[in-house]
């Protein structure tokens, strides 16, 4: 996390090889990210992006099934294993009631679950989500965050997210990376609180980090 414009999305885009590193190199399983073929990387890393999907008539099932593309043959035929992975992903995200709907009929919260299911079906060690709750109300936001928390526990996957929801992130994540203009902090949430890492995250005139509540609170105006 970090304030707007500090480079959260750039970092995630670089990690997922959507863009080239500005400097340095990224190693994934002791291999330079640049040296992975498209197909190798697609079995290691899946994405949930903020960009809007083109307006097509894909059904929820078809959309999730596209997550199996790295494994399917040239005609995109789904094997029994593919179907099993897809159905597991649908169950884990609790969206089986949406299966046959067109994706454009869904609410933002439902669509986000579908996109997470698609990433799960891709069966990768790492899932990267860019601002997964950007368009959601507070209830949906908490639902998505707790879903992600549950998935980490159940599937033992690494889930990397960028988020503006600082208070939720502090409560729910195992490790946090705080991007400041001058320094980058990466540690468990608990250690970061003890290091007073959050006090300098934003200018203190409007909001302050309350150490006891472990939350940012608005100053009395």
């Amino acid at each position: 996390m970090g304030k707007n414009g500090v480079g959260k999305s750039t970092l995630l885009r670089t990690l997922s090889r959507v863009q080239k590193p500005l400097l340095g190199a990224i190693y994934f399983d002791e291999k330079n990210l640049e040296n992975y073929t498209e197909n190798q990387l697609s079995k290691k890393l899946s994405l949930v992006l903020t960009e809007r999907l083109p307006e097509s008539q894909l059904t929820v099932f078809e959309l999730i099934a596209l997550g199996r593309q790295p494994y399917t043959n040239w005609l995109d035929k789904l094997s029994a294993l593919d179907l099993e992975k897809i159905n597991t992903a649908i169950d884990q995200t609790e969206i089986s009631y949406l299966k046959n709907r067109k994706f454009y009929e869904l609410s933002d919260g439902q669509l986000q679950r579908v996109l997470i299911a698609r990433a799960l079906a891709q069966d990768t060690e790492v899932i990267i989500l860019d601002e997964p709750t950007a368009h959601l109300d507070i209830h949906q936001t908490v639902l998505i965050f707790s879903l992600l928390k549950k998935l980490v526990k159940e599937t033992r996957k690494t889930i990397i997210i960028s988020s503006h929801e600082v208070n939720l992130a502090i409560q729910l994540s195992d490790k946090l990376m705080i991007l400041n203009d001058d320094k980058i902090l990466f540690n468990t949430t608990e250690n970061l609180i003890n290091q007073n890492a959050f006090t300098s995250l934003f200018p203190n005139d409007l909001i302050k980090f309350n150490k006891d509540l472990q939350q940012f609170v608005i100053n009395k105006i």
């Binding site: 997922s16 990387l41 697609s42 079995k43 994405l47 307006e55 099932f61 005609l75 789904l78």
Partner: protein, 342 residues
């Protein structure tokens, strides 16, 4: 992807295609009894020898051309709409058809400017197809070169449109300086025609068409992944650049060869994919590709049948018919569905 059962639709459409094919063959300036048509088609001997020539050398190649042109343009349109994720894309929008037109215009109209050599010395039935393929290929190369420089597909679309207006302008300039007969010759070509192909030409046309269609089968996977946008497609292990180039190449070959042999035929490429999506309510290319092939063939056969209806003496320009029927269909689709998908 999970397939809903479309067998019924496909069976129905195939029967419709067969019926339209027979109707198309049985109509023309000479009335031939249906019984004789059937005899000729099944290899028997008809009551009149001239009927055999009419059916086998004129109407049959024309009907087959209609099927190839209709389905080929529809596939090209579908590929363009998916690649550019834009429901308005089509073979015309990329400027490929305009490129083909420019090739033909340079050949027919340019002959007076650059000396009569082209027209007098090497004028054969092959010259126009070659000129048009060359023009299409030229614009294709320009568009592909441009696509290396600009990543954004919208920019490529606009570059294609610019090439289109550029070639139209060059054609106007050429026409301004050309004698009336040559302008007339060019205008006749631009009306489009399905009926000028000999069996030899048809054989070449069909071979290229089948190769392009087979190649399309191999890009179903990238096409489906493009439905999620380029970044997702890339994260699914698709080689974006390669897939894009193959899609562009197939489109250009299909459009180039069709424009070469049948002239610039409008609207089919734009309208048929939308009709297919409306009937099959899917965006999955495993269903859409066979669907546009069969619907494109059906629709161009209908257009061609209408084109030769009026007086039975002469036929209307096919390009006018496709636009006359295509434009209202697209407008009606928009009014009814309020939204076009890719």
């Amino acid at each position: 992807m999970e397939q809903r059962n479309y067998t019924k639709y496909f069976a129905l459409l195939s029967v419709l295609l067969l019926i339209l094919f027979l109707i198309n063959i049985s109509l023309g300036s000479v009335t031939i009894p249906f019984k004789d048509i059937f005899t000729i088609l099944t290899g028997g001997i008809a009551s009149k020898e001239s009927w055999e020539t009419i059916i086998l050398n004129f109407r049959l190649p024309k009907a087959i051309t209609a099927i190839l042109v209709g389905s080929g343009l529809s596939v090209a349109g579908l590929l363009m709409q998916t690649l550019f994720r834009n429901p308005l894309a089509g073979p015309f929008v990329l400027g490929i058809s305009s490129g083909a037109s420019l090739g033909v215009a340079l050949f027919i109209l340019g002959s007076s400017l650059f000396g009569g050599f082209f027209l007098t010395e090497v004028f054969s039935s092959w010259s126009i197809p070659i000129a048009s393929s060359f023009g299409a290929f030229l614009v294709l190369s320009a568009v592909i070169l441009a696509s290396y420089r600009v990543r954004n597909t919208m920019s490529i679309l606009i570059i294609g449109l610019m090439f289109g207006s550029l070639t139209a302008a060059i054609i106007s300039v050429l026409a301004y300086f050309s004698p009336a007969e040559q302008i007339q010759q060019y205008v006749f070509w631009s009306f489009g025609s399905l009926g000028n192909l000999s069996w030899n030409e048809l054989l070449i046309f069909a071979s290229v068409y089948i190769l392009a269609l087979l190649a399309t089968l191999f890009i179903i996977k990238p096409l489906n992944s493009f439905l999620l946008g380029e970044n997702y497609a890339k994260s699914l292990g698709i080689n974006i650049k390669k897939s894009k180039n193959i899609i562009l190449l197939i489109t250009c070959i299909l459009t180039g060869i069709i424009t070469a042999f049948a002239g610039p035929i409008a609207f089919i490429g734009l309208a048929v994919p939308h009709i297919a999506r409306l009937i099959f309510t899917t965006s999955n290319h495993k269903t859409l590709i066979p669907a546009v092939v069969i619907l494109g063939a059906i629709i161009l056969l209908i257009c061609d049948t209408i084109a030769q209806l009026p007086a039975n003496e002469f036929t209307l320009p096919i390009n006018a018919i496709t636009s006359l029927f295509g434009a209202p269909i697209v407008i009606w689709l928009l009014l009814r569905k309020k939204k076009l998908y890719i």
